[in-house]
Symmetry: C2
């Protein structure tokens, strides 16, 4: 566990980017199912998933979305974050064994409210976009 970055509102510039990689394995998927309570067989049952058009288990989209919590709370802006909103579009399926890159880019900041706006994305090892969206975060 690393310590979070500590950007102040003044230090946040439009165009600033942070990203990190996460390997998606069986264990992480099980942990997320236990936390969320989502045991849908498309995520959890290999036999069932094999019969669907995906051909194998699909990783919970919301597991990927949880990495935006890390992005905001550890990197952009890190320690002083107060998460206001997040829009999520689940664009393509993620599979067990994928290595994903989570990225945030500052696209706006408001002096009046101290709210920063991020473009957020998660791509797989082939560079294909899996999750897209935007975040609004206040800096305390």
């Amino acid at each position: 566990m690393d310590n979070p970055l500590e950007y102040s509102f003044e230090e946040i510039k439009i165009g600033l980017i942070h990203n990190f990689e996460v390997g998606i394995d069986e264990e992480l998927t099980k942990k997320f199912a236990n936390v969320s309570g989502d045991f849908n067989p498309l995520h959890m049952d290999e036999q069932y998933a094999k019969e669907t058009k995906f051909g194998k288990r699909v990783v919970h989209g919301m597991l990927l979305a949880s990495f935006f919590s890390r992005l905001v709370g550890m990197y952009l802006p890190g320690k002083n974050a107060l998460y206001f909103s997040q829009n999520l579009n689940f664009v393509k399926p993620c599979f067990i064994g994928d290595k994903v890159t989570v990225q945030g880019e500052i696209i706006d900041k408001s002096d009046a409210t101290k709210i920063i706006k991020l473009k957020t994305s998660i791509k797989n090892q082939e560079g294909k976009s899996l999750v897209e969206g935007t975040s609004q975060v206040m800096i305390r």
Copy 2:
């Protein structure tokens, strides 16, 4: 672990509601931090959180959002869900010890795309809204 419901597109009616309760404890918060990698001290460090305006640790908003994965994957529509999008507004803080009610209500359905739209909300034990948003889900 219960089996998911299995609503077909035809069975989904506007106004249909499902909800469930979740008790938010220390253990669940730790598990979410480990899954997401978000160890921001506002969530994880009691001493630090005491000095903030919240006066105690705030539960990750995205932990609450993970319950929408359960709502969609287990209840509305359950087994045949394909999660398309989710908007999240983090309205009020959730604290360890809170008991939250997660609710989804069908507000629209499209015959052309088989996509259903849900109004989603999470309230605390006092009925105060913590997270609000909408989901779009395709029924396979």
